[in-house]
Symmetry: C2
């Protein structure tokens, strides 16, 4: 990336810290459960629509022109100082407004409001650039209600061209109706696709959702890669039996086998170092009663690494361990479902621009992987991407206690702004 500005900025755009923090507080009231302090704005729920309306209202007040595409994404495009649209490539920035059930106020929302703040700051300063600047709020990133996470960014990247079936929520209600209520149109998803070349760069500002930055004492994290993930659903089949009348010898205890799977997954990461993290988060024994030996257990193993080869090796090691455990415990163990996402590397030059921006602001920074999934990994299909992280207090996320210091929130937005300006001034990003 060259550092030569094509057109000089009229005056230097600045983040309005008070306005940003005020909007974060206001948005956090939408979907708030007063008893837990948690926020529930499942994608395409009524609360999610209120958040969408809040964002669009704030954009309009700022003199910007928000629109909703067929996938339910809110897109705010600033094409030039006079606000008229052109067909120039975009520097896209954003995240999502939807949350998990009883989640926090920053996951997604922070990145969207910071993108709006950057856009507004540029508009107020009369910044001209080679590229249109676009702030996006991607629809249904979490998939909390409708189990199609990354819905909005997948539509943008053209991954929803062939829906295998009518999407439904967990209770069987059609996405079609919920999408229409959010301003989208299931039959026009093709119109939401952005062609190759239309996005010059995608930048996503997000809370870390982990403890690394806080433990290291840095204000800014520069994502090197978004982790790949192998999520295996495992079925253990043993023999149910009475806990009192079935001797230990000859038991086929599915839960005793499942316990060994939990420890094998842990060993593959912590002990053998084959992948960065390995987690068994869900275990459903059957019949799950105190006085019955479990006849079956359904469980998940979540393996993550930013290196595709290491991730494959870890999965192979797990599958070998499953065979060994099945043989030793007299059970059958099968992987009945697997979903994989490949690691996605962040663009080297965008990462350098983030580092320069942080240096100028005297904000200490470090490279780190993103262990969580983000819309950026989907947008990577069609554009170079990068992500900026700010510290999560206590490493907490997806819980009501999820928080980041105000100074870090402002610092992250300032880094985003400077990085966007740097990219916007570059002939070839």
């Amino acid at each position: 990336m060259s550092d030569i500005l094509v057109q000089p900025v009229l005056r230097s755009p600045e983040i309005d810290a008070g306005r940003l923090l005020h909007r974060i507080r206001e948005l956090a009231r939408i979907g708030l459960d007063d008893s837990t302090g948690g926020i529930t704005r499942e994608g395409f729920s009524a609360a999610d629509r209120r958040a969408q309306a809040y964002l669009m209202g704030q954009a309009r007040e700022a003199g910007l022109a928000p629109a909703v595409d067929a996938a339910g994404n809110v897109l705010i495009r600033r094409s030039s100082s006079d606000g008229h649209s052109t067909d120039r490539p975009a520097i896209l920035m954003g995240s999502h407004l939807d949350t998990v059930v009883n989640g926090g106020r920053l996951d997604g929302a922070y990145g969207v409001l910071a993108a709006l703040e950057v856009l507004q700051a540029c508009a107020e300063a009369g910044v001209e650039s080679r590229y249109d600047l676009v702030a996006a709020a991607f629809a249904n990133e979490e998939g909390a209600l409708f189990p199609q996470p990354f819905w909005g960014s997948m539509a943008l990247a053209g991954r929803l061209a062939d829906l295998p079936r009518e999407p439904l929520d967990h209770r069987g209600r059609p996405l079609r109706d919920a999408l229409r209520a959010a301003g989208g149109d299931l039959d026009a998803l093709g119109s939401a696709v952005w062609p190759h070349g239309s996005v010059a760069a995608y930048l996503e500002l997000h809370i870390e959702q982990g403890p690394v930055l806080e433990r290291a004492g840095h204000s800014i994290g520069i994502v090197e890669a978004i982790t790949g993930r192998s999520l295996l659903t495992i079925q253990v089949r043993g023999s149910a039996g009475h806990s009192g009348t079935t001797p230990m010898e000859g038991r086929h205890d599915a839960l005793a086998a499942a316990a060994r799977v939990v420890l094998a997954a842990e060993e593959i990461s912590r002990g053998q170092g084959l992948c960065r993290v390995a987690t068994v988060g869900r275990v459903d024994p059957h019949p799950n009663t105190p006085n019955t030996i479990a006849g079956a257990v359904r469980m998940t193993v979540d393996l993550r690494d930013t290196d595709a080869g290491r991730l494959s090796a870890a999965e192979r090691a797990l599958r070998t361990a499953l065979q060994r455990i099945a043989s030793r415990t007299g059970t059958e163990i099968d992987v009945v479902a697997d979903t994989r996402s490949a690691p996605v590397a962040a663009d080297r030059r965008l990462r350098a621009a983030i580092a320069h921006s942080a240096d100028e602001l005297r904000l200490s920074h470090m490279p780190l992987p993103s262990g969580a999934g983000h819309d950026a990994q989907i947008v990577a299909d069609i554009a170079p991407i990068a992500m900026i992280f700010v510290p999560s207090i206590g490493g907490l996320s997806h819980v009501p206690e999820e928080d980041t210091k105000p100074a870090d929130l402002v610092g992250g937005a300032q880094v985003l702004l400077r990085t966007v300006l740097r990219a916007a001034a570059t002939e070839r990003i």
Copy 2:
């Protein structure tokens, strides 16, 4: 026990095998789910009342006089050949008619119908004895709907004198109403108590519910003792976190700790031999989602042994293991509830009578523990008890496939009859 009959039997009473098997088949239609083949007669449910009515109808047809006590127990007393009641001590025999959800046709029901058959055979043969013969169907042994297992036998033994609160079912509906519908009366439970001395002996015929007799190739099991049980409810507290963003180092994974508890329980029995069986049957992780490290797990450990000292030692070893696991995994592990039942030994002389009866019938027999709980362990408060087991095919119980060969069912009833006659002829049991 002396073998001298006080009064000669007019003719030798015999089990009517066809009648017994026919009644087992008829009773198995009550509460049957045609799709699974399982039987659901939760104690004090409508299906349970229909089973009660069936039993009483069969008793009346046989010229016997069934009654329902205040606890909902069906009692069929044959006091003498003319059917008039006296105040003589009873030889009590029976079991229960209620089942678990989707259970089998023999658990409980077999012992009740065999007791009726023995009573009817004695009546038809005009057997006179020192003792009244009483067949009992104890109410709500399983506790499937109203979580007060052994309800009927506990009332009989006087254990329900001080109910701490109004008993409710799992949905909060009062036992009072369900008990009234079954012919009982919650306010008159005192009238259901049998005083010390009123029961000369209690005999319970039951399916083994385990694989021991089948594996050993014996037709009759003579219970040496009913196992004692320590059921511990364990709460593991760790820290929830994102499965992708939380490094392995510094995790406090409650499920990884729970897996070690499962293996520690297994080791205490199978490895160290401290108690006969140890089972983790229930594990409830929280939040139990694939991409979240479990912040908490609630689980049960079920320890059983027929020796009280060994059972205590096993529980101590488990508690020590819990401390070690908590320390190693950075979690807190607490035993938040414990229920214990002491082992109950079967009466030596009644066991000898069962053995003699089986020998006379040329039925091979072996001593074994009862790993499951039975009404007999409650009646042991007020009387000498013994239990006769017949083989369970495949060791299965509490499932639709629960079954026993017809010849074994008839053999068990024949042993019960001979044992009752032996006891009935004895001056001091």
